[in-house]
């Protein structure tokens, strides 16, 4: 049987390839047969013509035999498909402008979807590379209720907790702790900050990766509390910094404060849990922790800095694992409180642990980025639909123009199914070319999107990514069917007699209905997209216009990284002062202040006590900022009432504080906060008097209204400053190099300064809105352009059809203007209908998008009105152009035209 199939296949392929030869052979064979049969009759005594006739009769239909033979060859289907393809290709080549237009339209739609899918895939679906068992691997999130009553979810966990989990759970085959930090790697002038993943030895168990060189850490290297100073290099780092040489094992490399020995290299593409950059190297978590604080941290429940990833044992369900982890967490909490000699109150604290998916974008801390990306993915889909509607309309017009040819083929006996298949083949070819073009667009455009949106992930070519290719293929096929099915079904309908005799009025009611429906659909989709764009743009404007409480452009943040250099407190203060003086001396720097907190980087806080208020913590988050007398002017924070710091606010002077205005309204509603008393750090501390009210700073989030700030003079601040704030004349980015060069020489040993414009810290928080606004605007404009082109072509076609009618009107005395108005009204009516539908859809979809907007209602009437206005104007223009053309037609020619 197998033999049979094999020879069957060979035969079919051979016949396909040598089709012409095979046809000739068939003709020869049949001719030979007829000759012999004729001769037979001749021998029986018939004349030649008579013999031929008898032979032909005996044979039966020659053509039929040929056809049956062709069927017997088994290649009929493939041959007719090949025929369709060639026919479609010829047709498309003969109309290059049409083909180019369609390919461009579809290409952009398909490309946009492929690119967006790539991003959504990486953010939400694709697990990190080399993960052994993606569905059985989870991140750990801890939740509890704070003393103020609000609940918190964190994925940053303490080392002591991690040890407890290892000890107390039974449902997991691996529990690993890890974190990615930006550490100084390299010696002296070669030192650069790079992402370094510190991880427990069990981290590599979670992945199925094998080192390309050397080995990974073992439990020995990762012993508590002092780990071994070893490192595993990341593949890319190994290639770029060590030239991929295999003699790298055993060499040492300076990371932060310590000297590590290289013991292995990770494989290509391995990046661990990719959310904070591609690690240059991996080191044992215990070695890092010991280097940070050379104390036993294994019982410290105050330092939550690492993340935990676990792998379930095979056969253990998620619910069972969750319960196991939960009970371990409860026991750990009890142990923690007993250690701190606090009363155990689990009911109030409600600790609970949950296992989340490996992709951050799907967990409880998904963040705004992930949600916006999904929305924009949906938008890309809508644009593709609009593009398809456009192309469908174009194909429909073209099918109608070809109605005579189609009618002829139907009359010749081509079945309707075959005709539909042929028309669909055309749209398939168009979609396929569009798809190829779309992949190119996706590769190029997608790269730009990835830089914007996934800066921490390794770049990958679109063309080699199987899933994106699959999506592009599906989009292409979908586009082919969507664009082709309506024109194919309608175009192949046989209004036979009328078409062949070329009757003038093309009633084609079904075609007009289809066309109108497509147009309304396009208009509605455009409305939805543009409304989305409008809402995001307004959000972005609101975000940008928002007062952050400080100036962003001219401010630069300077931080010190001591890298293990030990300084006594007096040495540290001396260094700090020298840095401040040196910074002031830099040309272009106008003001300098050491600070305690830096927006979007590090916050300080102390407990606060105010008379008459039970627990301040319940009311919000209070961030402490400290600065010198220049601080407010350096940061650009406005003083609203009272005064700023003065030189008289020295170390031994009475305690003063400047509160944020929101904080003032919160703590002393309706009263003058100046002169009020605040106790800081302890209930029994001496009064710190409020001497002024200033703007509040946005420290951790742009939208959290429960964030408040208060300001202390640096001289009265009980800790060391964490950074220097510099104000420059101009844009901070231009001065980074100058500042670094001026201050680095002052640093002792291998310590170095890190200079960052404040903008770099603040901008990422605006990224979500920026992205949404840009993409919605781009796609909305694209959809609108497509719809306008679609409308234009539809009206132009309709006008051409109504030439006779319009000619009659003009001949009967109608003015040109009234003819134009007639046509325009018809077109605009369709668009208005579409606007109506689109508005309803947008209003309905609005409440989902609400969470992504900033200070903007999804029902903003201004946005809806502007979008409707824009669409009506575009509709008028798109319909007026062909209308004017129609009105200029000479009634005589119109009446005589067919």
């Amino acid at each position: 049987m197998f033999e049979e199939l094999w020879s069957d296949l060979r035969y079919r392929v051979r016949s396909l390839m040598r089709r012409d030869g095979v046809e000739r052979e068939l003709a020869d064979e049949l001719r030979f047969h007829l000759e012999r049969e004729t001769e037979k009759y001749e021998r029986q005594g018939l004349s030649r013509p008579e013999a031929e006739r008898r032979a032909r009769l005996a044979f039966g239909g020659v053509e039929r035999a040929k056809e049956a033979s062709r069927d017997g060859r088994g290649t009929a289907l493939l041959e007719s498909i090949w025929q369709d393809l060639r026919y479609a290709w010829r047709g498309l080549r003969s109309k290059p402008a049409f083909t180019a237009g369609v390919v461009l339209t579809l290409g952009l739609g398909i490309g946009a979807n492929a690119a967006m899918f790539g991003i959504v895939d990486r953010l939400l679906f694709r697990p990190p590379a080399y993960l052994r068992d993606a569905s059985g691997t989870h991140r750990v999130y801890l939740s509890w209720t704070e003393s103020g009553g609000e609940s918190r979810t964190e994925r940053n966990i303490e080392f002591a907790r991690y040890l407890d989990f290892k000890r107390l759970t039974h449902a997991f085959s691996s529990i690993a702790a890890f974190q990615t930090r930006s550490l100084a790697v390299g010696e002296a002038t070669d030192a650069r900050e790079r992402p370094v993943t510190v991880a427990s030895a069990s981290y590599f168990d979670v992945f199925g990766a094998r080192p390309v060189l050397g080995r990974f850490f073992t439990a020995d290297d990762d012993s508590v509390p002092v780990g071994k100073p070893v490192a595993v290099l990341g593949y890319t780092y190994w290639q770029t910094e060590f030239g991929g040489r295999s003699d790298v094992l055993g060499k040492t490399i300076r990371v932060d404060r310590g000297l590590l020995t290289i013991i292995g290299v990770a494989p290509d593409g391995f990046t661990g849990m990719t959310d904070q950059g591609i690690p240059a190297l991996y080191m044992p978590i215990t070695a890092y922790a010991w280097g940070m604080r050379a104390r036993d941290y294994s019982k410290n429940y105050n330092w939550s800095w690492l993340e935990i990833v676990v792998r379930r044992k095979p056969g253990v369900s998620l619910t069972v694992a969750n319960a196991d982890l939960n009970s371990a967490y409860r026991q750990s909490t009890i142990a923690e409180w007993e250690l701190a000699r606090r009363k155990v109150d689990l009911a109030a604290r409600r600790p609970s642990a949950s296992l989340g998916p490996v992709q951050l974008g799907r967990g409880p801390e998904a963040g705004q980025d992930a949600k916006v990306v999904v929305w924009v993915g949906g938008v890309a889909l809508i644009v593709l639909l609009v593009a398809c509607a456009n192309v469908a309309n174009l194909l429909l017009s073209r099918a109608v123009k070809r109605r005579r040819e189609i009618a002829l083929r139907l009359a010749l006996g081509v079945s309707r199914a075959r005709l539909v298949r042929q028309l669909l083949t055309e749209s398939l070819v168009l979609a396929a070319i569009g798809g190829v073009f779309g992949l190119a667009t996706a590769q190029w455009g997608g790269a730009a999107l990835r830089v914007l949106f996934l800066p921490n992930q390794p770049a990958a070519a679109v063309v080699t990514d199987a899933r994106t290719l699959a999506v592009a293929l599906i989009a292409t096929l979908g586009a082919a069917v969507l664009t082709g099915i309506v024109p194919a079904l309608i175009g192949s309908r046989s209004d036979l007699a009328r078409s062949l005799t070329g009757a003038s009025r093309d009633s084609g009611a079904a075609r007009s209905r289809a066309r109108t429906a497509l147009l309304v659909f396009q208009a509605a989709l455009s409305v939805v997209l543009l409304v989305g764009a409008g809402l995001f743009v307004r959000s972005l404007q609101n975000v940008r216009a928002m007062r952050l409480g400080y100036d962003v452009g001219p401010v630069s943040i300077v931080s010190m990284n001591l890298r293990g250099t030990k300084l006594s407190p007096s040495e540290a203060t001396l260094l700090g002062n020298r840095l401040v003086d040196a910074a002031r001396a830099i040309p272009g720097v106008s003001l300098v202040s050491p600070v305690a907190s830096v927006p979007f980087w590090s916050n300080e806080g102390r407990s606060l006590y105010v008379q008459g208020i039970d627990s301040i913590q319940k009311l919000g988050r209070f961030v402490l900022q400290a600065g010198n007398a220049d601080y407010f002017r350096a940061a650009g924070t406005r003083i609203l009432r009272g005064r700023a710091f003065e030189p008289s606010d020295g170390r031994d002077a009475p305690r003063v504080v400047v509160v944020g205005d929101g904080m003032a309204k919160l703590l002393w509603p309706g009263q003058d906060p100046i002169g009020k008393c605040v106790r800081i750090s302890a209930d029994t501390a001496p009064c710190t008097t409020v001497v002024g009210v200033a703007e509040e700073m946005r420290m951790r989030s742009l939208t959290d209204l429960r964030e408040h700030t208060y300001y202390l003079p640096l001289t009265q601040y009980d800790d060391a400053p964490s950074a220097l704030l510099l104000r420059v004349t101009g844009d901070a980015a231009d001065f980074s190099g100058t500042i670094r060069r001026a201050l680095q020489p002052l640093m002792p040993g291998s310590a170095y300064v890190n200079v960052q414009p404040l903008r770099e810290l603040v901008d990422p928080s605006m990224r979500g809105w920026q992205f949404g606004a840009t993409m919605f605007l781009a796609f909305g404009a694209l959809a609108l352009a497509l719809a306008a082109v679609g409308l234009y072509s539809v009206i132009a076609y309709g006008v051409a059809q109504r030439q006779k009618e319009l000619g009659v009107r003009i001949a009967l005395g109608a003015s040109r203007g009234s003819v134009v108005r007639l046509v325009v009204r018809g077109g605009v009516r369709m668009v208005v209908f579409g606007i109506g539908i689109g508005t309803v859809v947008a209003l309905w979809a609005g409440h989902w998008v609400e969470a992504l907007l900033f200070d903007e209602s999804p029902r903003d009437p201004l946005v809806y009105a502007s979008v409707a206005g824009v669409l009506v104007i575009v509709a008028i223009v798109a319909t007026a152009l062909p209308a004017f053309g129609a009105s200029r037609v000479d009634p005589n020619t119109a009446l005589r035209a067919e």
């Binding site: 033999e3 049979e4 094999w6 020879s7 069957d8 035969y11 079919r12 052979e25 068939l26 020869d28 064979e29 049949l30 030979f32 047969h33 000759e35 012999r36 049969e37 005996a58 044979f59 039966g60 239909g61 020659v62 039929r64 035999a65 049956a68 033979s69 069927d71 017997g72 060859r73 088994g74």
Partner: protein
Amino acid sequence: MDRLDLPQGTLDLLILKALSLAPMHGWAISERIHQVSRATLQIPQGSLYPALHRLERRGWIRAEWGASDNNRKAKFYELTRAGRKQLDAESDAWARLTQAVALVLDMG
């Protein structure tokens, strides 16, 4: 004499049998079957060639262009080894079938 219509599927069997004796071209097969069946079986000549191509596709016969007895170019078919096996199997099945039918008809 009336011509009998060929039961379905038997055309293949007849062609294979005709070719088992010697390779021949399509017309010769048609004549041979007509002669041997004492002129009872007249295959509709048009359906001969599709059957031949079908058999060639399944690998039971093989085709080659050669010179006919009056030196004209003709396409000759011959049985392959797989075809010979198929012929045996089908003749066998045919014999059993006719035997069974005959038994049933003899019943009453």
